[in-house]
C-alpha cells in the first residue's frame, strides 16, 4: 500500500440550495478543490461520488457530476453509507490511490435534500434502520433513534437536557463564524430549552437541520502529492465498522451498562491502531476533531466512544467547556452537523475539509482566528456515523506521513 494525501479541498455553501441542481452544486466544491490544488478536471483519474439520495430526482449522480465537472470519460461510481457516505467515498478513493490503480482520485460528497418536501425527508430518514421491524409498524424517526440513546444516557448517567443544550450552544457559536454554515446565529441554553420537542427528550435545537451541500477532496499518491503541494495532509488511518440494522439488537447500550455506539468504538480502535494511537488517552494525540453531532446526544456519545474521556464522563467535558477551542480537545469548531448543516452525503467530506484547513492553519482565513485551533501535534480526527451507528467511519489526518 502507498501513502495517500489530501492535496485539494472544496466546500459549497451549506443550507437550503434551491438555486442550484445537484451537478451545479457539486461543481461549487469541485471547482474550489481544483483551484486549491492548482489542477484541472482532466487530471482526475477516478471519481467516487458519495450521495445517499432518495429525496432527489437524479438516480445517477456520479454520472451527472462527472459530466458537469469535466472528468469524462474517467471511471466513476456512487457510494452510500447513509450519513457517513462521503467518508466511505473517501475510503474508496483512498484505496484506489493506495493500491496504485491511480495517482489522483476525486472524492465528491453531494446531497440535494430539499428536492423533496420536509415530511418526505423525515419519512425517508426514518426508514434508515431495519425497515419492517422499526418503521413499518412503529414509525421511528431519525431523532427518535438518537432519543432512545439520550434516554438511555439520562437513566444511566444522570445526563440532563440542559447538558445537551450546552453542546448546541457551542456548535452554533462556532457556526456563527463559518461562512459556509447553514445557521450563522448564536443561541443560548434558553433557546434550546424553550424549543419544542421533536422526539422526547430531544428538542428542535438538539437536532441538525436538513441541508443541501457538497464537498470535494482530491487524493494523491506520495510522488504526486509532493509535486502539487508543500503541505500535503496525509491520511494516517481509516477505521470502518457496521452496526446492527435493528437498534434493539445493540447489546452494549441496551444493557444500561454502556450508552454508545459499538461500531464507533470499533472504527476508532481500528483507525488508532493504524496510526499508533492509544485509545485510552486519545484526546491528547489530536489538535482538533470533527465528530458526528447530528443530534446533541450524538456528540456526547462520540466523546466517550472515541476515548476522549471515560464512559459516563462526557457530561464533564461539556460542563467544563473542554471541547471549546483551547480546551482539552476542540470539537466541531466549524459548527458541526448541528449548525453548519448535515447534507447526508457530504458531511464526512465537510469534516475533512475543515480539518485539512485546520492542519494547514488556513481555517482562520475562512472563519477568523478564534476558530483556528493551535496546531502542535499535527493530527486531526473525523468521526462520521451513518444512521444510528449503522455505519461508522473514523479517519485520521496528519501533517506527517504514516509511520509503518
Amino acid at each position: 500500500m502507498r501513502d495517500v494525501a489530501i492535496v485539494g479541498v472544496g466546500h459549497s455553501k451549506f443550507g437550503n440550495r434551491f438555486d442550484v441542481r445537484i451537478d451545479e452544486l457539486a461543481w461549487e466544491a469541485v471547482s474550489e478543490a481544483l483551484k486549491d490544488a492548482n489542477l484541472s478536471a482532466k487530471d482526475m483519474e477516478f471519481l467516487v461520488v458519495g450521495c445517499a439520495g432518495g429525496w432527489s430526482a437524479e438516480s445517477l449522480p456520479a454520472v451527472l457530476c462527472s459530466e458537469y465537472c469535466g472528468t469524462l470519460p474517467k471511471g466513476s461510481m456512487r457510494v452510500e453509507a447513509a450519513c457517513a457516505t462521503s467518508s466511505a467515498a473517501t475510503a474508496v478513493a483512498y484505496n484506489f490511490v493506495a493500491s496504485g490503480y491511480v495517482d489522483l482520485a476525486l472524492a465528491i460528497g453531494v446531497e440535494k435534500m430539499y428536492e423533496s418536501p420536509t415530511p418526505v425527508q423525515i419519512e425517508l430518514i426514518g426508514r434508515a434502520g431495519n425497515y419492517f421491524w422499526e418503521f413499518e409498524n412503529f414509525g421511528m424517526t431519525f431523532p427518535g433513534y438518537y432519543a432512545l440513546h439520550a434516554t438511555g444516557h439520562m437513566w444511566k448517567y444522570g445526563l440532563k437536557e440542559e447538558d445537551l443544550a450546552e453542546i448546541a450552544v457551542k456548535n452554533h457559536y462556532y457556526a456563527s463564524m463559518n461562512p459556509k454554515a447553514q445557521f450563522r446565529k448564536k443561541i443560548t441554553v434558553d433557546t434550546v430549552m424553550q424549543s419544542r420537542y421533536i422526539a422526547w427528550p430531544l428538542k428542535l435545537f438538539d437536532c441538525c437541520p436538513l441541508t443541501d451541500g457538497s464537498t470535494a477532496l482530491i487524493l494523491a499518491s506520495e510522488n504526486k502529492a509532493k509535486e502539487i503541494t508543500d503541505t500535503p495532509v496525509w491520511i494516517n488511518g481509516i477505521g470502518a465498522s457496521t452496526g446492527t440494522g435493528n437498534l434493539s439488537k445493540r447489546d452494549m447500550f441496551l444493557k444500561l451498562e454502556y450508552s454508545g455506539l459499538e461500531s464507533a468504538v470499533e472504527a476508532a480502535k481500528q483507525a488508532y491502531k493504524r496510526a499508533g494511537i492509544d485509545y485510552n488517552n486519545a484526546a491528547k494525540h489530536f489538535d482538533v476533531a470533527c465528530v458526528h453531532d447530528c443530534f446533541t446526544i450524538a456528540e456526547l456519545m462520540a466523546y466517550e466512544d472515541l476515548g476522549f474521556c471515560k464512559r459516563g464522563e462526557g457530561i464533564k467535558l461539556i460542563r467544563e467547556k473542554q471541547t471549546y477551542n483551547g480546551g482539552l480537545i476542540p470539537v466541531n469548531i466549524d459548527g458541526g452537523l448541528k449548525a453548519k448543516g448535515h447534507p447526508i452525503g457530504a458531511t464526512g467530506g465537510s469534516m475533512m475539509y475543515s480539518l485539512t484547513k485546520q492542519l494547514r492553519q488556513e481555517y482562520g482565513n475562512l472563519a477568523g482566528r478564534e476558530a483556528q485551533a493551535t496546531i502542535t501535534k499535527g493530527r486531526a480526527l473525523a468521526h462520521n456515523i451513518g444512521g444510528t451507528g449503522h455505519y461508522a467511519y473514523v479517519t485520521i489526518l496528519s501533517l506527517e506521513k504514516p509511520h509503518r
Binding site: 437550503n16 434551491f18 438555486d19 430526482a57 418536501p117 415530511p119 418526505v120 423525515i122 419519512e123 426514518g126 431495519n130 419492517f132 421491524w133 422499526e134 418503521f135 409498524n137 412503529f138 414509525g139 421511528m140 424517526t141 431523532p143 427518535g144 432519543a147 432512545l148 440513546h149 439520550a150 434516554t151 438511555g152 437513566w155 419544542r196 420537542y197 421533536i198 422526539a199 422526547w200 427528550p201 430531544l202 435493528n246 437498534l247 434493539s248 439488537k249 447500550f253 441496551l254 444493557k255 444500561l256
Partner: protein
C-alpha cells in the same frame, strides 16, 4: 404532495410551465410533473410462522438448534452455523423497559396518529423488542419498569401488530 400537484396544474394553466417562486427564498423552482407513489412488497415465506402467530395472538422468536443463538426479529438462517434449523419459541411477553422516546414530529405516513411512545424492552427470553408503549401517564415511565408485550389491532387501519403495556 397533493398540494404540489395542485400547484403544478395551476402554474401550467397560467404560464405553460410548472414554475413557481419558492416561498421562503423567492428563488424560481421547477416542480416535477411526475409524482411517484411508492408502496413496497416483501416476501415472508421464511418467517411466515411469525405472521400466522400474530393472527393467534402469539409473538414468536427463533433459536438456532445447533448453537443456541436467539433471534428477534425472528430469522430462518443462522449465519454462524451456516444452517437453517430453527426452533420457533413463543415469547412470554414479560419484559423490562430499557429506553424510550415519544415521537412528536412524525413521518409523512404517520401524521394521522397521536404522538406515540416507542420503547425497547429486555424480554424474559433474553431477546430485546422494539415496539410502541401504550401508557396513559408517560410521566410514570421509569427505567426498568415491567412491561408486557401483547398483540393488538392498530387503528384506524385495523391490522395486527404488537405493543408494550405497563404491568
Amino acid at each position: 404532495m397533493s398540494d404540489l400537484g395542485e400547484i403544478v396544474k395551476k402554474s401550467i394553466k397560467e404560464q405553460g410551465l410548472p414554475l413557481i417562486e419558492e416561498t421562503k427564498t423567492k428563488l424560481p423552482l421547477y416542480i416535477s410533473v411526475r409524482e411517484l407513489p411508492l408502496r413496497f412488497q416483501f416476501g415472508t415465506s421464511k418467517i411466515q410462522k411469525f405472521f400466522e402467530g400474530l393472527k393467534e395472538g402469539k409473538i414468536y422468536m427463533t433459536q438456532c438448534k445447533k448453537c443456541g443463538e436467539k433471534f428477534f426479529p425472528p430469522q430462518a438462517d443462522c449465519p454462524k452455523c451456516i444452517e437453517s434449523n430453527m426452533e420457533w419459541i413463543q415469547l412470554s411477553g414479560e419484559g423490562e423497559l430499557l429506553t424510550c422516546t415519544m415521537i412528536v414530529v412524525k413521518p409523512s405516513t404517520y401524521t394521522h396518529y397521536d404522538n406515540y411512545i416507542v420503547g425497547i424492552a429486555q424480554m424474559k427470553e433474553d431477546v430485546k423488542v422494539l415496539a410502541w408503549l401504550k401508557i396513559d401517564t408517560p410521566e410514570k415511565i421509569k427505567p426498568k419498569m415491567k412491561v408486557r408485550l401483547t398483540t393488538v389491532r392498530r387503528e384506524p387501519e385495523g391490522f395486527i401488530t404488537y405493543e408494550f403495556v405497563p404491568i
